[in-house]
Each structure stands twice: as structure tokens, then as C-alpha cells.
């Protein structure tokens, strides 16, 4: 795609860059020749994609499998109200084209996996990780280390944000900071814990800033530093990060040299694993409902999740309120508990069993695995 020159339209469009000595014509041509991969076009990916497109990054790759939901619009500014129900890739591509038709958008539809990650990332100069789960965070990190691609990292939760640059030159990687993921269920996702809508704007644009600097080769990046942002108290702090010589992926004696099963690494249940005792498949619950069996179905997700999609027979008791609601549940009946993916409901089942409820089943895979 490189032409080695800028058109008149581009000279006009990027004029405020061209007069910056740190960018100039040479830098703008570098941006035009650059390829950046955005993993996720959600809260972080939205501002990243918009500003990188506006800045004139020549090729932007987008990885996403999701569709636009109205609950996304509070922060995912690349998508609009008329995009609800569309693929995020379609919506994001349209927004980028409208902003800067000079940008080539490469679509990678689906999830990033251990099978496709190296092949996808190999084509890019820089990766910006804006995913929402630990398995993909570790996958992106390991693939970037193995391929020697810098990763502009950002992560958000409620009012807190983190940003850094991993796998760049001799700097540390994500595993140097967090050798192991937290056990599933201990750290809630944004869907469970909430997130301030403007927060991903701040963190996503810190990532975008780092991407542009990495591409231009100017300034000092966040390599070796972890930036912490507390939006509620409006404080930025900076911590030192060091490469861990014992890091299994980037250390001196590397034990992870090819991509692994990240779901398993993060302790997630395998979707094709056999049922454990105390579990039930969604289709079996459907059959019980169809038969008119006498049992209690409980949804332990949050009210907004229940509102977005629910099984009509399910009673909503968010996990946090379950201890206070125990007296309202008929312990003589079979109790079937579900959540989004089976983690929170597993905790609920443990609690119910501890409190003496004798007949409790957890819906394997949660409502995500439920076909009605």
C-alpha cells in the first residue's frame, strides 16, 4: 500500500502533524506504512480505532466476534444507536471509513485463539490489547513476546485503569507483572462490576498515544512502567516494572515457547468437558421446563444482565443478595442455578449447599451456552 508520498488531500488532512518536528512528512509516511492490530473493538478499542484512523495509521486490523448492544453505547463511541444489533466489525469499519477513507481496515472476524493468534499478529507492527478477559490477555502477551511485537496494554475496571507497553525491546511482559491469573470468579468483569463510561476513553487514548510513539520511534514509552489511573480521585501514579528473569515466556530460561490452552491456564471450565457432579446442561433444564417439572430456577446475575436476556422461568437473585434471600427459597425442591457462564452460579451452589440446601444443580456454561 505504501506510495512513499502523500496526496494533496493527505497533506491538508495531516497538516497539524506535518508541522510538528517529531512527526513531519517522514513521520506521517511512517504512520501511513504502519499496521496496527486492535484486539477488541469495545471500550478501549473504540477510541483507539478512531484516533489511530484520524492520525493516519495506514492499516488497522480489527479482531472482534461481538455485535453492538445498547449497553455498549455508554462508552464504545465508535458504535452508534443505529448500529445496535450489527456486527461490531461492520460498525467500526464504517466509522473509520467516514473519519478517514485513506485507512485500510483489515477484518478478523471471530475470537483470537491459540490457533490463529500467531498468524494474525505476525502481519502487524504493533498490537493494542483491549480485550475483556484474562485468557485473551495472556494469549496476546505470549504471542507478542514470541513474535517480538510491542503490545500497548490497557485495562479498566470500575474507576481504575492500568496502562503499559509490554514485549518491547528488552522490557518486561504482562507475565512479568502477573505470572498467574486470579482464580476464575474472584475478579469480576466489567459486565458484573460496572465501568465508568469515560474511563476507557482515557486509557484507550493512552494506549493510542503509545502506539503512535512506537510507530514513530519518538519519545519515551511506558516500557518498564505501569501507569495507574484512579478516575474517582483523579490521580495518576506510576510504578516500576522489571523484566522477570524467571518469566516463563520472556525470561532467561523460557518454558513456554508455543501458545498454550489459555482457558485451561486461567482455570476456566472447558466447554466440552464432561459434566461434573452437581452440574446440569441447559438443554436438560429446557426439557424439565417443557415437562413441567417442579423445581426452582434461579438466575444469580445482575439485574441489567437479567433484563438483557433471561429464561422466563428464572427468578432473579443476584449473587451478592443471595445470603439475604435464603429464607425465601423452598429448600424442599430441586434448585437449579445459572449465571452468564457458570462461575457465579457455581459459587451460589456452594453457598446453598453449605446452608443446607440438599438438592442443588449448577447450569453448565450458563446462559451463554443456553439455546432456547
Amino acid at each position: 500500500m505504501s506510495t512513499g508520498t502523500l496526496t494533496n488531500e493527505e497533506l491538508q488532512r495531516y497538516s497539524r502533524h506535518l508541522i510538528l518536528p517529531e512527526v513531519g512528512l517522514e513521520g506521517q509516511l511512517k504512520l501511513k506504512d504502519s499496521k496496527v492490530l486492535l484486539v477488541g473493538t469495545g471500550g478501549l478499542g473504540a477510541p483507539l480505532a478512531l484516533y489511530l484512523a484520524a492520525a493516519g495509521v495506514g492499516t488497522i486490523g480489527l479482531v472482534d466476534f461481538d455485535t453492538v448492544d445498547s449497553s455498549n453505547l455508554q462508552r464504545q463511541v465508535i458504535h452508534g444507536t443505529s448500529d445496535i444489533g450489527r456486527k461490531k466489525l461492520d460498525s467500526a469499519e464504517d466509522s473509520i471509513r467516514e473519519l478517514n477513507p485513506n485507512v485500510r481496515v483489515v477484518r478478523h472476524e471471530g475470537a483470537l485463539t491459540s490457533e490463529n493468534a500467531l498468524g494474525i499478529i505476525a502481519d502487524y507492527d504493533v498490537v493494542a490489547d483491549g480485550t475483556d478477559n484474562f485468557p485473551t490477555r495472556y494469549l496476546v502477551n505470549d504471542a507478542c513476546v514470541m513474535l517480538g511485537k510491542p503490545n500497548a496494554y490497557g485495562s479498566i475496571f470500575r474507576f481504575d485503569g492500568q496502562a503499559s507497553v509490554f514485549a518491547h525491546e528488552d522490557g518486561p511482559c504482562y507475565r512479568c507483572l502477573y505470572p498467574e491469573p486470579p482464580p476464575p470468579g474472584l475478579v469480576p468483569s466489567c459486565a458484573e462490576g460496572g465501568v465508568l463510561g469515560v474511563l476507557p476513553g482515557v486509557i484507550g487514548l493512552i494506549q493510542a498515544t503509545e502506539v503512535v510513539k512506537l510507530l514513530l520511534g519518538v519519545g519515551e514509552t511506558l516500557k518498564g512502567r505501569l501507569l495507574l489511573y484512579d478516575a474517582l480521585n483523579m490521580r495518576f501514579r506510576e510504578l516500576k516494572l522489571r523484566r522477570n528473569a524467571e518469566c516463563p515466556v520472556c525470561g532467561d530460561n523460557r518454558t513456554i515457547t508455543k501458545l498454550i490452552d489459555y482457558q485451561e491456564f486461567c482455570g476456566m471450565p472447558k466447554t466440552n468437558a464432561p459434566l461434573e457432579s452437581g452440574e446440569i446442561l441447559p438443554e436438560d433444564v429446557n426439557a424439565m421446563i417443557a415437562r413441567g417439572d417442579d423445581f426452582i430456577l434461579i438466575d444469580v446475575r445482575e439485574p441489567h444482565e437479567h433484563q438483557a436476556r433471561n429464561i422466563p422461568q428464572a427468578r432473579l437473585i443476584p449473587l451478592g443478595t443471595l445470603p439475604a434471600q435464603l429464607g425465601t427459597i423452598d429448600g424442599s425442591k430441586l434448585i437449579v442455578v445459572h449465571c452468564k457462564a457458570g462461575m457465579r452460579s457455581a459459587k451460589a451452589c456452594t453457598l446453598l449447599r453449605e446452608k443446607g440446601f440438599g438438592n442443588v444443580l449448577n447450569v453448565k456454561g450458563g446462559i451463554d451456552a443456553w439455546k432456547v
Partner: protein, 92 residues
């Protein structure tokens, strides 16, 4: 007394306090005292064997205690101990 900064995911265990001043001559002592003041925090920070959990990073001022004297890192008056838990949010 050193000051411990509590990240927002853990503030529900400290009555929403973002900063807690605790006694302790080392980072480890300060954290143990914090866990005594707020018992629900104990399982978030420590394993059953009393070790700091591997996915919770502890900083003394701006340095990771893994690269200092770990839990024996001296903590003086006014020093800042920061808990940096893993967060993964971004897309959904």
C-alpha cells in the same frame, strides 16, 4: 505508619476507604495488620498458608517488593504500599 492504597475492586472490604494507615515495620506486617482490621481482605491478599497471592502485586513506593526484600521490605512512616490486582476489563 505506612499508608496502604486500596484499589477500587477491594474497597468494598475496607468500607470504601481508598487509603488505610496501618502499623508495621515491614510491608508484610503492615498487610497482616490491614487484614486484621478488615478480615474479608485476608482471603483476597493471602493464601491459606499466609503467603501473598501470586496475582496480587505489592509495591513499596514505586518498586515491586519482589525485587526488594519481599514481605520483609522495611516500611517507614509515610511510605506508600500499593496493592495492584489483576484487572482485565476493556471490551465488554
Amino acid at each position: 505508619m505506612p499508608k496502604i492504597l486500596i484499589p477500587s475492586p477491594l474497597r468494598k472490604f475496607t468500607g470504601n476507604a481508598a487509603e488505610v494507615a496501618v502499623a508495621g515495620a515491614t510491608v508484610g506486617e503492615a498487610l497482616k495488620n490491614l487484614a486484621e482490621m478488615h478480615p474479608e481482605l485476608r482471603t483476597q491478599i493471602f493464601t491459606d498458608e499466609g503467603k501473598i497471592r501470586s496475582f496480587v502485586n505489592v509495591y513499596h513506593n514505586d518498586e515491586d517488593i519482589r525485587f526488594l526484600d519481599k514481605e520483609a521490605t522495611a516500611a517507614a512512616d509515610g511510605d506508600v504500599v500499593t496493592l495492584v490486582p489483576s484487572i482485565a476489563g476493556g471490551a465488554r
